[in-house]
Symmetry: C2
């Protein structure tokens, strides 16, 4: 990359119930941010929101011509071979729209879609915890669970770009039913909502936990933030559930480290923000389940970019896709 | 690769309790074969065997100068960054020997070591079932379980070359203790000896299976070959155990396909020779546990090269390592 490429401007968008975006310089620096709640019930309105955000960024810089490309982290499967959003999140019915084509037409800018966890991996790899590493697994732990893989210094998307569905790693032959149609998926135990569910179940089934400070939250909204806070204050229930979370994640991470010999696992996503209290049980369980030679050359760390990982990664993917030739 | 490279000669060795070797032409054709039972109790004798086999092949062709390089599929972890055999199989104590250096010195030929499952993957990719595919998981199902990965058209070894330890994929949080120190590893259920063990256990615990033709084998040596044969003859016990094998393998394969979006899984290794009767339950279980978009673009097939996969792959890895520059 030339120094000129590093000073070019890109837009990175991370799509979820909130659309978060930024203007990112080619050297990974975030210059401007915007966010807006997604109009998921109205696809036309949703597309308008994306175009407006891109236009807004362009107006704040020096017009569209100052923007080199737009990268979009997308919460679903993307068929990279066909430039098609194969599976869109169920919150949003885009079945009769060509989102890629619409955005390209309405903005006149090169548009690059990438699975949001892949974008997060790329962000941490370009500018975060994984900078300088060659073989990295990035896990996005949030409402769902995704993953992105850098192997031998390249983002791995798989045959059609569907890779990274780490949430559907099997951890029990039976196990709970999952939205994907299978059972025993990692996501049924350790996504944000399922961590909260397990706290509730423990409170319900084990009277000794009634002394937990989380018992008082049962009637209101119990969040992962609250559970992590309680764990930091040595609440036994919170600690037990995070240890359990470590066991489930450790099983899956050990399998991946044994198979891929990655040298770093970066834990990112909403559940991991201020999540040091979760890293330790994950690390401990993974250690006990991984072949020592493979574990000893692998660090397990929290991401450095927090929720910006996906935005920065999407922008840098747009940078690298448009500077390829 | 030039047509000259395709006519060069390489030696491929696959190391196990039997050392199997061949002279392989650069176009993947096997020209000469040899095999010998490994002298695992005496490391010096073992090294001599390897040198003798290489010398024998050289004598049959036009001397050592006709051989371009030697590739060796090794049943253990190899530190590719250090050219060091990190973990050698427990049958063989090579701790005081520099096998790599010894072979290079005694033969005067370029020596390339590769994990045996990686070599098998490379063989099926160069000349077998996976020819022409870009993203492939190769599973070697034998006394143990190994795997090799081709992603984006490149063999993936991981940070230090330890990748492919698919046998230590976790399929149960508890589960049986495994030699690796963990519990619930795939290998504890579906390696060759463990398939046999499960047949014995079913016979012991369920009287209805006493009608099985395998009941008669209980006193003697029961083999996977025998179990597959019985399954082909619709023996219920044999079929039940192979279905169960499919469940365990299906869990692990679904996890890998979801994570990596490979377009082909090649099942190889000793247990899979004439193993069509095993492919169907594996395929069925994997289908039921994989995200449809990812399963639909992935074929699960038996290897085409059988036990030659590792020999051909090791030779072709030697070819590609020595023709790199």
């Amino acid at each position: 990359m030339t120094s000129q490429d590093k000073s070019k401007l890109y837009i990175g968008l991370d799509i979820g119930r909130t659309i978060r975006g930024a203007v990112v310089r080619g050297d990974s620096t975030i210059l401007e941010r915007r966010q807006i709640v997604a109009e998921v019930r109205d696809p036309l309105e949703f597309i308008k929101q994306l175009v407006h955000m891109i236009d807004g960024f362009a107006a704040e810089t020096a017009g569209r011509s100052a923007i080199s490309a737009v990268g979009i982290g997308w919460p679903g499967l993307i068929n990279q071979r066909m430039n098609r959003l194969e599976v869109t999140p169920n919150m949003l019915d885009l079945s009769s729209f060509d989102l890629y084509g619409e955005l390209a037409k309405q903005t006149g800018l090169p548009i690059v879609f990438e699975n949001d966890a892949n974008a997060g991996a790329y962000g941490e790899w370009c500018a975060g915890a994984a900078r300088g590493f060659k073989d990295v697994l990035f896990v996005a732990l949030g409402t769902g669970i995704g993953a992105g893989l850098i192997l031998d210094g390249r983002l791995q998307r798989g045959a059609l770009g569907f890779g990274g569905e780490f949430g559907h790693f099997k951890i029990e032959a039976g196990g709970m039913e999952c939205g994907c149609g299978s059972t025993g998926c990692l996501e049924t135990m350790v996504s944000g909502p399922n961590i909260v569910r397990r706290v509730r179940e423990h409170l319900f089934s084990d009277p000794s936990f009634s002394v937990s400070q989380l018992a008082g939250d049962m009637e209101g909204v119990l969040t992962c933030e609250r559970i992590k806070e309680a764990a930091r204050e040595d609440d036994e229930l919170a600690r037990a559930v995070l240890r359990e979370t470590g066991v489930f994640l450790g099983m899956a991470l050990a399998s991946v480290i044994n198979l891929l010999n990655v040298e770093m696992v970066v834990m990112g996503g909403g559940v991991m923000t201020s999540g040091e209290v979760l890293i330790e049980p994950i690390r401990e369980e993974t250690r006990s389940r991984t072949i020592p030679a493979a574990f000893n050359c692998c660090r397990i760390v929290a991401g450095e970019l927090g929720l910006d990982a996906g935005i920065v990664g999407a922008a840098m993917l747009a940078r690298d896709a448009t500077n390829k030739n």
